[in-house]
């Protein structure tokens, strides 16, 4: 085999060097300091133009909607983005800024632009078919393993998928020989995002977080990222956290900002709290089909909204949210 056959030809957007990452993480302090701040302050401080951003949860489940909306409203551009089963989260960033600027220009894609059984996002398709986004192809497991490699502090993790496919050819993985068995393995490089946006059930002021339901890749993502912004349904005391250390999913020393955002995953699902708002998600998908209707939709629900609480209000407020709670818990 030639070397090109052993190496995917996709771009590697981030540095997988664990010593570079170690030098950064050395400066992150362990002291318990109060990190509670507003969504707008957190995004202003920790998300910069050109950063590589990753979104936690699973597309339309336990996503940090409030933080994603704020990234759009603060008009961040030239971002890198990890499309690790990104569905509604992808759709939000694919909208672009109010002035028509594209938000991300580099994309690690595992699952993008679909909303699973709900259909494909017309806006996300327009963006991806424009050729204006540089793409590197992955699988869901491979991209999760890239976070895992970074969380582990090693430059790559070997996996046994992607082999023999165009998904490998358009990735930045490398085929290697196992030093023990001689078998072919796919080496997937560590991905250290500049910032991760993760929504959780509970956090204390310092960022010790609890997650109910599936953790997807967030255990690794929260450790792999240089900065972590957490939004939480509830703020709890550190005494409460210390009463059950097994329940902690993310420890405070990985976290940079904590935002208190009830219903922060809306219109996504939040395990044990509220179900997804399928009516609103469908309205979003439908609006995207017509460029003018879509612009009006974005003005109403995203660009023209001062904060996430206002968004919840125009989406039906307490009454609608109570309904989604009943749907989740019946």
């Amino acid at each position: 085999m030639t070397s090109s056959e052993n190496t995917g030809r996709g771009p590697l957007f981030t540095d997988p060097d664990p010593d570079v990452a170690r030098a950064f993480f050395r400066e992150k302090k362990g002291a318990l300091t109060d990190k509670l701040m507003s969504v707008s302050d957190a995004v202003a401080r920790f998300v910069h133009d050109g950063d590589y951003v990753a979104s936690g949860g699973f597309g339309g489940n336990r996503i940090a909607t409030a933080l994603l909306h704020e990234v759009v409203r603060q008009e961040r551009t030239n971002l890198g983005f990890a499309g690790h089963t990104t569905t509604h989260d992808f759709q939000i960033l694919a909208a672009g800024t109010r002035t028509g600027k594209q938000i991300f220009s580099r994309l690690d894609a595992a699952y993008i632009l679909g909303l699973e059984a709900r259909g494909l996002s017309a806006q996300a398709r327009r963006l991806m078919e424009s050729g204006e986004v540089e793409v590197c192809e992955w699988t869901n497991y491979a991209l999760a393993c890239r976070f895992r490699a970074a969380a582990t502090g090693v430059p790559f993790v070997p996996v046994r998928s992607m082999l023999g496919t165009d998904t490998f050819r358009e990735s930045a993985a490398k085929e290697i020989e196992c030093p023990f068995t001689g078998k072919s393995l796919m080496a997937v490089p560590a991905l250290y995002p500049d910032v991760a946006l993760i929504h959780v059930h509970e956090s204390d002021l310092f960022g010790n977080c609890r997650i109910r339901g599936i953790t997807v890749a967030d255990w690794d993502l929260s450790r792999a990222s240089k900065h972590v912004i957490v939004s939480a349904e509830r703020i709890v005391s550190t005494d409460e956290i210390r009463s059950d250390p097994n329940a902690t999913a993310i420890p405070a020393f990985c976290v940079d900002a904590v935002c208190h955002v009830p219903y922060g995953s809306y219109p996504g699902n939040m395990a044990g709290e509220y179900f997804s708002d399928e009516v609103h998600l469908k309205a979003w998908l439908d609006a995207e089909r017509d460029v003018e209707a879509y612009r009006a939709f974005l003005d109403k629900y995203l660009y023209g909204v001062d904060c996430f609480e206002s968004y919840l209000e125009i989406c039906g407020g307490e009454e609608r949210l109570a309904e989604l709670r009943r749907l989740e818990n019946n």
């Binding site: 597309g59 699973e116 991806m128 192809e137 699988t139 046994r160 082999l163 997807v216 939040m270």
Partner: protein, 254 residues
């Protein structure tokens, strides 16, 4: 009476035996697994790539990561945990949905046209490439037409038998896996043991081999004794319509 999607889901569900383990994708595969669980296979272990392990599905999940996938589940875990159960050989079936497919069961869910500036961009692999690489048998459920059943996929997202016998192993994929059945609105297909090419196993009521071939962009084989697909039973249809997909999310689309 029943529609094509209902037929496909009922036929697919019968392939999942009680006590088996299956990783399912969004939509029809999920409906088939749920139907199997509510009929002949109450002990079917269903795994969702986002982390849901062995739920008692109360209603059709809309996402393979929504909270229905952990309703009365044995465990709410992570994507790596589920995929690694597959990678170490504990998952009998991968059950995947519609995409472009070739004679060797290779799937495209990434692009139509040129990769760099595609005519149509689709979601990509998601967990499909992982599932089809790791699980022992891949089941595929999809509509049958010449646009989908093609001589060569535009982009090989997810491995079937790649270029034929021995190709998966040569590429380094775990040995012994590969596509097992393709369930469409026209027929059920299997794969020839010697050539790894797709062949008709059973024809749905009213279908001829010629009709199926006409809707296929590559040369189809057929097994020695092609049977007629057993149509959905009253019981299967009732459970499918009343319990599995009462909102018609999947079966209403057909």
């Amino acid at each position: 009476m029943y529609n094509a999607m209902e037929l496909m889901i009922c036929v697919a569900s019968r392939l999942l035996e009680d006590g088996a383990t299956v990783g399912v994708g969004t939509g029809a595969p999920c409906a088939a697994a749920m139907l199997a669980q509510k009929t002949h296979a109450p002990g079917l272990l269903v795994a969702f790539e986002a982390g849901g392990l062995a739920p008692m599905l109360p209603a059709m999940p809309i996402s393979v990561g929504d909270s229905r996938t952990t309703y009365r589940a044995l465990m709410a875990t992570s994507m790596c945990d589920i995929m690694e159960a597959c990678q170490r050989g504990m998952m009998d079936y991968a059950f995947l949905g519609g995409a472009q497919i070739d004679a060797y069961g290779n799937l495209n869910s990434t692009v139509i046209g040129d990769y760099k500036k595609p005519r149509v961009r689709f979601p990509g692999s998601g967990g499909a490439n992982d599932f089809a690489s790791f699980c022992w048998r891949t089941l595929i459920i999809t509509q049958h037409d010449r646009r989908r059943f093609v001589e060569e996929v535009d982009f090989l997202t997810t491995p079937g038998f790649l270029t034929g016998p021995g190709a998966r192993e040569a590429a380094g994929l775990p040995s012994g896996g590969g596509p097992y059945r393709v369930i469409t609105d026209l027929a059920v297909m299997s794969f020839d043991e010697d050539t790894c090419r797709m062949q008709v196993e059973s024809l749905h009521p009213g279908m001829t081999f010629e009709q199926v071939q006409e809707n296929t962009g590559f040369e189809l084989g057929q097994v020695a004794d092609v049977k007629e697909t057993v149509p959905p039973t009253e019981e299967e249809l009732n459970i499918l319509r009343d319990e599995v997909d009462p909102d018609g999310l999947i079966i209403g689309r057909s």
